[in-house]
Each structure stands twice: as C-alpha cells, then as structure tokens.
C-alpha cells in the first residue's frame, strides 16, 4: 500500500475512534453553552471557536462525526449487502429471471436520487432513521448492477465449469468460487461509496432535512456556519474541512485496498 492510503487509514481510524469515544474525547458536550463566549474565534478554550449559542465547535464536530460516519458506513454496508445478494442472484441465474430483476433495478435507478431521498425523509420525518432508509434505497441498485456484471463475467470462466464437474452445488460455487473474485471490488466500492453517503447526509442536513438540532452532523454544522460565512468563517470552515478530508481519505484508502486485495499484485510487495 502506498503512503497516501496508509496515512488515510490512520486518519480515518482517528476520526472513527473520536466519534465512538466522543464523550471522553470531546472537551465539552455537544449542547453545553458558554454564553459568555458566543461566536468566539478559535483559541485555547475553544479550539475551533464557538457558534452563535456559545457551543464548542470542536466538540460538536466530534459528535457530528458519529452521525455522519454512522450513516455513511452503515447505509453503504446495507446497500452493499442487498445489492450483492440481488446482483449475484440475478447474474448467476441469468436468463429471464435476470432480465426481470434488472428491469426493476433500471426503474429504481431511473428515479432521481435526491428527489427520492427528500420524499422518503419527508415521509419518515426528520432524523437518522429516515435518512438511513432513503440512502440505502437509492444506493443498493448501483451495487446490484456492479455485482451482477462481475458475476456474469466470472461465471463463464472454466474454473466454474471445473467446480460443476466436481459436483459443487450452486451456493458453493457462488460463495467459494465467485465471491472471492468480487470481494476486492466490493471492498473498494465500499470505500468509494461511503463518501457519497456522507456527502448525501451532509447535503440533506445542509438543506434542513437531516438531523434536527441540538444534535449535530457535519452537514448541519455546515448549514449553521454558512449563515455567518462573512463574519465568522471558522463556523463553516472546520466542518467543511472535516467532510473534505474524510471523503478524500476514503478515496485514497479505496485505491490502496484495490491494489492490496489482488493476489496478483500482492506478491510484488512480498
């Protein structure tokens, strides 16, 4: 793995552990107000300054990472799971079943993502659950297509025929012969899709459909900060940097993993 992706892995680990251990890591609670110090600039008491209500931005950023990362990672994992099962089944069975299953994917895919997400969150009400369902529903189709394509390609290889000739059942062939071949692609896709979900969460929260205050996510923080961008730029700067660095890190990590997970490339590094 190259240094960039190693560095990214370290960075993401730090962000993730900060999110998990937020109550111990954060200097303040996400809702504690320092009323004498509203809209303070970054300093020793408040590393990233405070917002309009005197809440510590650094603490809110750490608590916000909980929501942003959780939604990013869990929705992507769930979408990956659904998409993989659906896509693998469709590609492996093939024929008419495949056509029908893929037409359904096409229909879901044709619906505009943002519109669907907004509709679902409006229906479900603001909060983690609504966003969670909305993001999963729109992103599993991409996974399903990807996995189906790979399964279609791999099932034509002779080693699949060899497995049939040995008497292996369909489930064994899917799990033991085909899945190991797409695992690398799946993990890499995961790292490329997580940022998309984080960004979607941020966007939703930014336009006011995400997490309701006083809870914070990176999107809500950016939303709050944006209103005072002229006079208190730190309020939007730090959340934006957090989003930016996290997404960038996931991308670098994905690239590194892609090379790492291929046994043909692995041995070159010993």
């Amino acid at each position: 793995m190259n240094y960039l992706s190693k560095f990214s892995a370290v960075f993401l680990t730090i962000v993730a552990s900060a999110a998990v251990f937020a109550p111990w890591v954060a200097p303040y609670s996400y809702e504690t107000q320092d009323t004498l110090n509203t809209l303070a600039a970054p300093g020793f008491d408040h590393w990233m300054g405070t917002d309009r209500l005197g809440r510590d931005l650094f603490s809110r950023l750490i608590y916000g990472a909980r929501v942003s990362l959780f939604i990013g990672v869990v929705t992507t994992l769930l979408a990956l799971l659904i998409g993989t099962v659906y896509g693998a089944l469709s590609g492996y069975v093939g024929g008419r079943t495949d056509s029908v299953m893929m037409r359904f994917v096409d229909v879901v895919f044709a619906l505009p993502d943002m519109l669907m997400i907004i509709l679902i969150t409006v229906m479900m009400g603001r909060g983690v659950m609504g966003m969670f369902i909305a993001l999963t529903l729109v992103s599993w189709v991409t996974m399903a297509r990807l996995v189906r394509g790979e399964v279609l390609r791999i099932k034509e290889y002779t080693y699949i025929e060899a497995a049939h000739a040995l008497g292996a059942g369909d489930l064994r062939i899917l799990l033991r012969e085909i899945l190991p071949n797409i695992l690398g692609l799946m993990i890499v896709t995961l790292t490329f899709r997580i940022p998309v979900a984080i960004l979607a969460e941020s966007t939703l929260s930014f336009i006011g459909l995400g997490i309701a205050p006083p809870f914070s996510s990176w999107g809500t923080l950016a939303n709050e900060g944006w209103k005072a961008i002229k006079f208190y730029p730190h309020l939007i700067l730090f959340p934006s940097i957090a989003i930016f660095l996290t997404i960038l890190s996931f991308n670098f990590l994905g690239e590194g993993l892609r090379d790492r997970l291929d046994p043909r490339k692995r041995t070159q590094f010993g």
């Binding site: 290889y157 002779t158 080693y159 060899a162 040995l166 292996a168 046994p263 043909r264 041995t267």
Partner: protein
C-alpha cells in the same frame, strides 16, 4: 498386458445418438438454431483411450461437456456403467461426478486466481464430504507428488506458476477422487511444444497407475496417434469415421479423414503429398448443408451425397465410416 485384458471388458461409457442444438439470437432478433451435435454415438471401453478429432467448430468440446452433463443434450442417451446419466436425480449425479472428471484446454482460466493451490485441491474432498483435515492435507501432498510438483508449492497462487505447471495442477484436481473416466478437452494445445510431451506422458502414467479411461479431444492428429487406442473423427457435429488408431491412420476411409491426415506436416520435404486436400471453411452450423454435411468440400462427391445423409456403417471389422463411396 493389463491394459489389453481390460479393453475387452464391457463399455465404461456408451453414448447413444446425442444431439445438442443451441438457440442463438441473430442481430435482427430472430432465433436461429446452431446444430452443434447432430447425433453422435460411441462407446468407451474400460481402460481405453478414445480420441475425438476434428477442426475448430465441429462440436468436439460440446461433445466433451455433454458427455459429463455439463451441458444438457437436446436428445440422446449417455450410459455410464449402464446407468443413464440423463435420468439420474441431481444428488445421484453429483455423487457420480467423483468418477468422471475433466481436464480443460486453458490452464490459466481453469484455476480460480483467488485460491491457493492447496485450497483448489482440497475442494474435491470437501465437496464429497471428506471431513478429516489432516487426511485431506495428506492427500493433497500425494496429488502434487503424483503430477510432479513439490508440496512446498501448495501455498502459492495460480499466477505464480507456468502454463505447464498449472495444467499439472488441473490434472491433480481431476484425479483427486480417483475417477474412472477423464474427459481431456485439448489438454495440451495451449501449452508450449516442449511441455506437451511431458504432460502427455503424465497422462499416460496416470492411465496405467490409476486405470483411467480417457476421452481425448484434440485437433492435433500426431498427438492423437501417439496417445489413443481408437479415434473418432468429427465433422459438423457428426462422427464420420471411427476406428482403431493404426487402421485409421494407415488406411483412412472417409475423404475428410484423408484430408486431415494430409495436413500433418511431414519431416521429409521430398515426400510428395499425393493425399487429399480440401478447400474452404467449415459450413455454418446454423445453416447445415443438405445431404452429407461434408459434400460442400468433398473432392469425390457424387449426386447422392447432396441428397441423402450417409450413416456410420462398419466398412471393415471395427472400422466405421459414414460415406456412400467407401461403404
């Protein structure tokens, strides 16, 4: 001598009039039928090696896969030790697969690139319910030894081996469960010429030591002569000639066989080729010629060849040919 006595026994495999027609979609969406196998019949005796030869596209590989029921035939019967494979229940068929294996043409595509060699070789035992891990490990080492690879290569991945080594691993996988029948689908044609003899000799050794019968698919007439007891010549999904190797090579009956043999390069440039030559390509299997399938390219064709289809008949004892002019 042991082989000689074995060949007189009952057939291990009997294929009766199998047909395979594929439905193919044309560009304009109409379905066309590809006549890959048009009724082939042969028997393979215990301990025997039967060669199946013919040019590309004549249905050799389809025949190989159909015999093992990797492709379901459209019609016909496949009898293995007097059981009809096509009538077997799926679980019975799966357990019978222990006894019939296949070696593929492309060693690079026939081994899963993501699996270590020992995992690939443990798979057959795992599928058929062997549960003792140390016994399986022992068997894997034994297999590698049998095909001439050392056991310290077991933890490598397929891309770390050469084509010849990979084909040995493919053979090891095929013999793992002590099969009686191995279908070898062009097992050496993807290999370097220098490696071919080694792999052929390995197959011959295994035939002796494990009493394996081979159905050997090839387009290399020279290797088939060296390797096979009997040879079946295929043309457009039919067997046109079937005989013991020596009579077939020395006195070919069918004009197509003659032409195939004439195509073998000779070591002596002075030898004038007086044997048959044919021109043109194999006709399209979607649009079969009427009458004898070979008549479009046959240098000795007559009127009746264009109208009726010659059947495979015994021209001499043990020598079958499908040609009106050579009956």
């Amino acid at each position: 001598m042991t082989i000689q006595t074995k060949t007189t026994q009952a057939p291990l495999l009997e294929v009766r009039n199998i047909k395979k027609h594929f439905q193919a979609k044309g560009i304009s969406g109409e379905t066309q039928t590809v006549y890959a196998l048009n009724g082939i019949s042969f028997t393979l005796r215990e301990g025997e090696t039967l060669g199946l030869v013919g040019e590309s596209g004549c249905g050799k590989s389809t025949a190989a896969r159909t015999v093992l029921r990797l492709i379901e035939p459209t019609a016909g019967e496949i009898l293995y030790r007097n059981q009809d494979l096509l009538a077997l229940r799926p679980d019975k068929m799966r357990s019978l697969r222990k006894e019939m294996q296949i070696i593929f043409q492309d060693p690079f595509a026939s081994l899963n690139p993501r699996k270590r060699i020992d995992k690939i070789l443990e798979e057959p035992f795992d599928i058929h319910g062997f549960t003792n891990p140390s016994k399986i490990k022992e068997r894997v080492v034994g297999l590698l030894d049998k095909v001439g690879l050392s056991s310290d290569q077991a933890d490598k991945y397929p891309h770390e081996f050469s084509g010849g080594q990979l084909q040995r691993i493919g053979i090891a996988r095929a013999i793992a469960l002590n099969p009686s029948l191995i279908v070898a689908d062009e097992p050496v044609s993807a290999l370097d010429v220098s490696i071919r003899a080694q792999v052929i000799n390995l197959l011959l050794d295994l035939k002796e030591s494990m009493q394996i019968s081979y159905l050997f698919i090839s387009h290399d007439m020279a290797i088939v002569r060296h390797f096979c007891d009997r040879v079946a010549v295929m043309y457009l999904g039919k067997i046109v000639e079937l005989a013991d190797s020596e009579p077939l090579y020395n006195k070919p009956q069918h004009p197509y066989t003659e032409a195939l043999l004439a195509a073998i390069p000779s070591i002596d440039p002075e030898t004038k080729k007086e044997r048959m030559k044919i021109k043109g390509d194999l006709p399209n299997a979607m649009d079969m010629p009427r009458g004898c399938a070979f008549h479009t390219r046959c240098p000795i064709r007559e009127k009746q060849c264009e109208e009726s289809i010659p059947q495979l008949k015994e021209a001499r004892p043990g020598h079958h040919v499908a040609c009106f002019l050579r009956e």
